[in-house]
């Protein structure tokens, strides 16, 4: 593996890791809220969360670029706060990936949360558990597998994403040039041997990781009740 590729791998892992972390932190309460409420507002929020799915990544990336550019409100604010430009930075990639991958995290979590029996939460409440405690001690362990699925989808999708990332990241080596973009570069510049190698490595690595994850987190009996 070349040094440039190593750079790209490092960057990809950092990006996917950060994104997944933020996604889980953000997506969990959102999904919980959505799963417990019904009405117009939640339905609207739910639809909004699904929006990034509809737009082609480059197009979404284009709009994100408009949003994050230095002359936009968000971009300007960021620049005032951090002194750095937002667009074409690692932070921009994280923001883009979070928005893009949000539905992959929220939707499975929401479906899982909705199926946690209210009766168990009631039992926990009578035993002195506050709602947060109920979530931590009952909902979370019962939905372990769905958390896994959500994190996997979020992570994998961030790894595989490149349209948005290319657009708002700018393919800058060591900064925003992640594996998917590098792979794209290889294919675009007809370096098929390198492309095969990188793609093969990516596939084998992910396959192994997912395989181990899925095997050891099979279908626990506890999840079925």
């Amino acid at each position: 593996m070349t040094a440039a590729e190593l750079d790209a791998v490092r960057l990809t892992l950092a990006l996917a890791g950060t994104t997944t972390l933020i996604l889980m932190l953000l997506g969990t309460p959102l999904a919980w809220w959505l799963s417990r409420r019904r009405g117009n507002l939640p339905a609207l929020v739910e639809a909004l969360v699904a929006m990034p799915l509809i737009l082609p990544p480059t197009v979404l990336g284009f709009y994100l670029l408009l949003m994050l550019a230095p002359d936009s409100a968000v971009g300007a604010l960021w620049q005032r706060l951090t002194g750095q430009q937002l667009a074409f930075s690692f932070s921009a990639l994280v923001i883009g990936s979070v928005i893009y991958s949000l539905p992959f995290v929220v939707q499975p979590l929401q479906a899982a949360f909705a199926r946690v029996p209210t009766t168990l939460l009631q039992a926990a409440a009578t035993l002195g558990a506050t709602p947060l405690d109920q979530f931590r001690s009952v909902v979370a362990p019962l939905c372990r597998r769905s958390f896994l699925v959500a994190a996997c989808l979020g992570f994998a999708h961030t790894v595989g994403e490149f349209g948005v990332i290319l657009m708002i990241g700018g393919n800058i080596p060591g900064e925003t040039r992640v594996v998917s973009v590098a792979l794209y570069d290889y294919v675009e510049s007809l370096q098929f041997a390198e492309a095969h190698r990188l793609a093969g490595g990516l596939v084998v690595f992910s396959l192994l990781l997912l395989f181990l994850l899925y095997r050891n987190n099979g279908r626990p009996r506890a999840d079925q009740q």
């Binding site: 009631q122 009578t126 002195g128 001690s137 372990r144 506890a222």
Partner: protein, 363 residues
Amino acid sequence: MSALDLALRCAGADGFALDITERLSLTGVTAVFGASGSGKTTLLECVAGLRAPEPGSRIAFDDETWVDTGHSLPPWRRGIGYVFQDARLFPHLDVRGNLTYGQRRKVSAKGPTLAQVCAWLGLQDLLHRAPDTLSAGQRQRVSMGRALLAAPRLLLLDEPLANLDGDSRRQCLAALRHAIAASRIPALYVSHDAEEVSHLADRLLILAAGRVTEHGSMLDLSSRIDSALAKDEQAAAIVHCQLAAHDSPFGLSELHCEGNSLWVNHLPGEIGSLHRLRIPARDVSLCRELPRDTSILNILPVQLDEIEPGDAPRLLVRLRAGEQFLLARITRKSATALQLKVGDKLFAQIKSTALLTETAEPA
């Protein structure tokens, strides 16, 4: 005296509505009785805060307002222990995890230890088991243990013994009595079993179609022949007695009740201590003459106080023994044959084998 003040309305499906305005005394056990669908579970859920009653309802526990207009104390701050009709164990925790769930969250330092509760309910060998490998009765016992370990201020029990066999039932009943007596936790106890209730309860609340039809002390209600309780096959009177002697060779104890002796199963307790006895109406028969050479040890002279009117094949009669009352269920045919009428002096025969049931607390 502490009390649970209820002014509740809570609608269910199909026009059902629980509608209760009542002040429940909070010492000992209040049994909640009523047919299937009469609103017993609904009542418990409202008290626990799991179901929201209609606006205008009020619940106050001692001086603490739990529900009032625009205010509802959440369940986790009411300090209750709820044993659900379905056990509702946490499937992701083993038995130990389930048992200690409430214990780890309790606010008071009181409450029994894990070891105690396990011994009471026979759970020692199950601690590492997953709930879905338990039999129904085992699950129910774990659920009881979980509620007791949370050291609640009020116990709500919804047919906790429904799935248990005779022996486990007796064991758990004893455990409940013990826990309730030791920690003086008041309890609302839903049951379909009159006998179970009379072992445990001090007061009785009878529901029919969402409304209270009777509410009072177990003692008063059980000596009436017109109460809903009297209709039950298990109707029984409760009498106060004093422990007079132990007959160790035969494993019996002698009680004095209004100047007469009653022989019952050996009772733990000191000579002179006061006890409450449950005497099922179906175990009492009447004679005009004192029977001799009979296996029935307990024969009380009584005076006929009241006869249930109507022309059912069986009648309930109330008998006065000194200041107290017994109930007897006899056929109308016998009543006619014996020409029973109010004021008759009679002998009530009570099989001592039936007198095994001391009720909740020494009175």
